[in-house]
Symmetry: C2
Subunit: 243 residues, 2 copies
């Protein structure tokens, strides 16, 4: 499958003449992959051969192939070459907008309430020993739309202890005051517990979309937040186009 014949025995690649050359090359190679014409594991022509075929420089070809590798459509190995990725899995990039921006962008009136603010000790959610625990409610036109439970690690964000968070929202304060270098997101569905349902004006047991986020600065935990969206209506949308 990786012999020389399979490398070159394939339909000629065509450029469509639209947009930058690197984008055309990217599409030209992505097309037979998503079309299934090039099977997983199949070899892609060498960069230097593609340069000759498209009458261009290696930087341009390399840019196209690097993007395809980032898209997960191909895998690249020195000395061996580039190959169609073994598992053409889907992947979706979700923008997770600030709830205030989201409400106001859609023409709603945003408001915010701090429900609980309490210092806690003892490791509970993978953070350090001393944390600030907050519960907040976000409202759209006066109706609860998002419940936020947040733990802020006071080792990672010492200045948080001086904030009362009654007016400034934790997310906004953290974004502007605490550096972070890595975030991990997890999505799940839960039946709203009685207490949560009451705070969100839902029936107990209603399905809610839950987004959890952990944030680090280098290896220091900064915050863990659990966002419970009101009701099943809330949706997150992501798209992917290899072209």
């Amino acid at each position: 499958m990786t012999d020389a014949s399979s490398r070159y025995a394939r339909a000629s690649l065509r450029l469509d003449g639209e947009g930058p050359l690197y984008a055309q090359i990217r599409r030209a190679i992505a097309a037979p992959i998503v079309a299934g014409a090039w099977r997983p594991g199949e070899a892609i022509p060498f960069e230097r051969d593609l340069c000759a075929r498209f009458k261009t420089s290696r930087m341009t070809v390399n840019r196209a192939l690097t993007m395809l590798a980032n898209d997960g459509l191909i895998v690249r190995t020195r000395r061996k070459g580039s190959f169609v990725a073994p598992q053409p899995s889907h992947h979706a990039s979700f923008e997770i907008a600030d709830i205030r921006d989201e409400v106001e962008t859609e023409g709603g009136r945003y408001s915010y309430e701090l429900l609980t603010r309490r210092l806690e000790s003892g490791v509970s959610v993978g953070l350090g020993d001393r944390t600030l625990y907050l519960v907040c409610r976000h409202l759209r036109d006066g109706a609860p739309t998002l419940l936020e439970e947040r733990w802020i690690d006071l080792a990672g964000a010492p200045a948080a202890v001086d904030q009362n968070f009654a007016d400034e929202r934790p997310n906004a304060w953290l974004l502007h005051n605490v550096p972070w270098t890595r975030a991990e997101h997890q999505m799940s569905a839960v039946n709203a517990a009685a207490a949560v349902a009451r705070l969100l004006d839902l029936e107990s047991g209603a399905a809610c979309l839950v987004l959890e986020r952990r944030t680090w600065r280098d290896r220091t935990p900064v915050t863990y937040v659990k966002l419970t969206y009101a009701g099943p209506a809330h949706k997150l949308v992501g798209t992917f186009e290899p072209a």
Copy 2:
């Protein structure tokens, strides 16, 4: 805020000497942004100035800045320059693995059942007039773990009508036989309806994570699929690191 003084009146950028130069430059600029030292809207030095500061070529600086723009950390405009993005929103990239791979990767035994196969007419889910409707169940160690409802547009994928899908899974067949160029994903939470709950061995009303996916080839719809994961336990994980 965009005057010349703010462009240059900031802490000196430092390279850490680790890895490729473009990655070092990317980190050097990402750091003060995620740290909040450079506020949204603030100007980033011009490419040619960064070349001088880091004693490198414009291609290398441009590569770093282009990556930062793709990350959503900066926005770039010709003639004006580059600026810290107005809304430092989080975004997460979720890999949506094939369920079979997922089960087997975790050491489970995978099996598959086709429950319904039926030709349908009339637009129902944003597809064309003639569709093939499938309901499948995916099991982990014999226990239902995912319910798949799928509509395949027979204009977009005519060959589907000759497949019975009793043995070959729709996802696998489509990936290998039908080209696609764009996919759109949507996640939500629902209370399992009685019929769904029965098929997934859940109590009626149990919260389920639902992933919907629409796929196009150019502007032609190919398929719409609604994946209902069994129970709240299922989670999707995504990470983001600007470094």
